[in-house]
Symmetry: C2
Amino acid sequence: MINPHFSTKERILSAAEDLFAKSGFAGASLRQVTSAANVNLAAVNYHFGSKENLINELFKRRLDDLTAARMAALDKVRSSRQATLEQVLEAFVQPALSLASERGGSSFVRLLARAFAEHDQRLRRFVSDNYGHVLKEFAKVIAQLLPNLPKDALYWRLDFVSGALTYAMSDFGMIKKPAGVTDEQHRRTAAEHFVRFAAAGLRAP
Amino acid sequence: MINPHFSTKERILSAAEDLFAKSGFAGASLRQVTSAANVNLAAVNYHFGSKENLINELFKRRLDDLTAARMAALDKVRSSRQATLEQVLEAFVQPALSLASERGGSSFVRLLARAFAEHDQRLRRFVSDNYGHVLKEFAKVIAQLLPNLPKDALYWRLDFVSGALTYAMSDFGMIKKPAGVTDEQHRRTAAEHFVRFAAAGLRAP
DNA sequence: CTAGCCTTCGAACGCCCGTTTGAAGCGTTC
DNA sequence: GAACGCTTCAAACGGGCGTTCGAAGGCTAG
């Protein structure tokens, strides 16, 4: 399960990502994590200090890359002469898609959905600090592309878009990957459907 | 906090709803629940048998009403001569809105979102058994209203719609109720925005 | 009044939790 | 090869967990 070639720290992070995604932060114990990682129990507190800090490191590791990739994609779209709503949405989704394709990335995506479901203030603060400003940047660009849309309507619709994406990427819904389709293709299809749906929703009369 | 006029069973259910919504099923203990309910610890196992069964009863209590109300609203729309997509979506949202306005209902809505985030198979099975067939009925009606939309696109979009609703109703997003607006008005506004957004998304070219 | 039943109660059960500790291992540096 | 850091280890800590138990309480029917 866990590759023995990686360092203790990395093995813990990987195992924790899987187990927390599966059972929740309170539901998965450090004993389960260290056992899956083939690592001594005390290693968590040695390398991360506490369970809570391990969770934070888990998010930091992935979110730093994700937010950077999203900002880069947004800047690219922004600098093009005639950006479309679809391109902006694509810039938002594509990096998340790449993340989900990484080793363990799909677990992390579900973890992210969990972080939203947890109303725990400490965790929400942490996620929004590392994540919030990117959403604001996207909101600004989208607002420019929909100049006739009142601000309150825009914010509502952006919430709906976030929800739709979170939900779909976490495999909550009834959509199941058909047999004979690679994960990659499945995600590509999901992204295409999402961009069409979200763009139309944002443009609603 | 907990009304002493209600029965032990009801006090436990109310307190459990609040605490599980706030801290998660694994995160809130029966000792916290019974303490908040002003009830002896052993009462949970006496009245419900186990923590897991308490959780099931929690969902049953609300979902039975919700699904019945949704089916009734759908039948009403169905029987009208010329049903619109907006009316069908309204029939889906309105009962959830009423539920959220009930005493403790807003906690339950967040609990429902948690149930989706938990990938726990037992809980998912239970929720989908009590919840799934209603979604299928709505899907059928919506499919008739969008005869040119391929089936796979329809299912993707319905997933997006579910996600948008779940997310928005659980207060995950950045939308905050403005001061001086009642909960009732806030939810009414949310529903209007949602129906417009979802209808447009479903009708996307 | 009393017998019976449903409910509540305090106390305890065994178990697992996150964290800490001090010793053991081990490669690097003088 | 001794001394030093960094890492791993087994073991234990106090505490909270879900659940169980037998006694006590309190209501109703005879």
